[in-house]
């Protein structure tokens, strides 16, 4: 009668042991296998190609300071020449690649909004003389009357 629960318990024990083994094995393997990394020269080539794209964007008046600073950080890490730095640099480069792609996609709308703000400012400045010509006499007279409203004419 008692045999069945005992067998069940053994099965559960074996199952738990297998799970523990698999977990420990996976963890130790993840420690021993280094993550895939690009060679420094490949990374350098990618940095150069990203730089060219950033220069083109900058020439169109797009603010590229943030991705340039990140690439500068990646280059600094590459100067260190150790594995950890190369992996870090690789992460930064892929982040910059995404940022550049985003900037390139947003380029038309950025250019339109920049032009709108530029020509809008010019139009606003151009309207000052017209507004002054139309409004100044009215405002001046209004104020002139207001400041003299309580004046009494002496007999």
């Amino acid at each position: 009668m008692n045999k069945k629960p005992v067998t069940m318990l053994r099965v559960i024990h074996i199952f738990i042991i297998i799970i523990l083994h698999v977990t420990i094995l996976t963890y130790s393997l993840s420690l021993s296998i280094p993550p895939a990394k690009a060679s420094p020269s490949k990374l350098q080539r990618e940095i150069i190609s990203l730089y060219i794209r950033l220069v083109r964007l900058s020439e169109e008046g797009i603010d590229t300071r943030e991705p340039v600073n990140l690439l500068s950080e990646a280059l600094e890490l590459l100067n260190n020449e150790d594995n950890a730095s190369i992996i870090k640099a690789q992460k930064i480069v892929s982040k910059v690649r995404e940022a550049v792609e985003k900037l390139e996609a947003e380029k038309p709308s950025i250019i339109i909004s920049k032009n709108l703000s530029k020509y809008g400012t010019a139009a606003a400045i151009a309207s000052i003389p017209v507004l002054f010509y139309l409004l100044f006499p009215r405002i001046y007279l209004e104020l002139w009357y207001k400041t003299r409203r309580k004046w009494v004419v002496e007999k």
Binding site: Q44, I47, I48, Y51, I52, L54, V55, R56, S58, E59, T64, R65, V68, N69, L71, S72, L75, E76, L78, N79, K118, Y119, T121, A122, I125, A126, I128, P129, F132, Y133, F136, P137, Y140, L141
Partner: protein
Amino acid sequence: MNPLNEEVFAAIMALIVVGSAIGIAQVLKPETVSPFTAFGLLNEKCEIGDYPAKAFYGENLTLCLLLYNNEGSPLLAQIRYKIGTNDTLPSDIAPSRKKPIKIYEAMLSRGENITIPIQAPVTPERALIGKRAALIFELWIYNVDERNWTYTGKWVHLYLEILEEPLP
């Protein structure tokens, strides 16, 4: 003075029109920059002056390099470190014929400056031990149109007396 007097009003209007024209010109004028890069060598504290005059063969000298980008666009720069003598210094048009010992790379946004601390290994030809050598730092930039590294004609050098390495 009545500002609504025809003559006074005309004078005020003239001033405002001129001011507005100058303002519009300022907003619409294309951005003009005189492109240049500045390049300098600083001591281990990243300050000007107080440079080392002697170094042991094989020693790593701590120095700083200063770069300033006013090219109007981002700049990808390479500083090629070489060791030569008075005869192998670079010129405004040609780099030194010596091979680079180390290459430092940096990227700068427009209008940005950077100070790069470096460890320059003093490893000239052994024939230069006991003599005066020049640590040469050449500035190269990546030319986007030609897709290659171009020598800028800018370099800095530091003369050092190379001493025999001390016994361990």
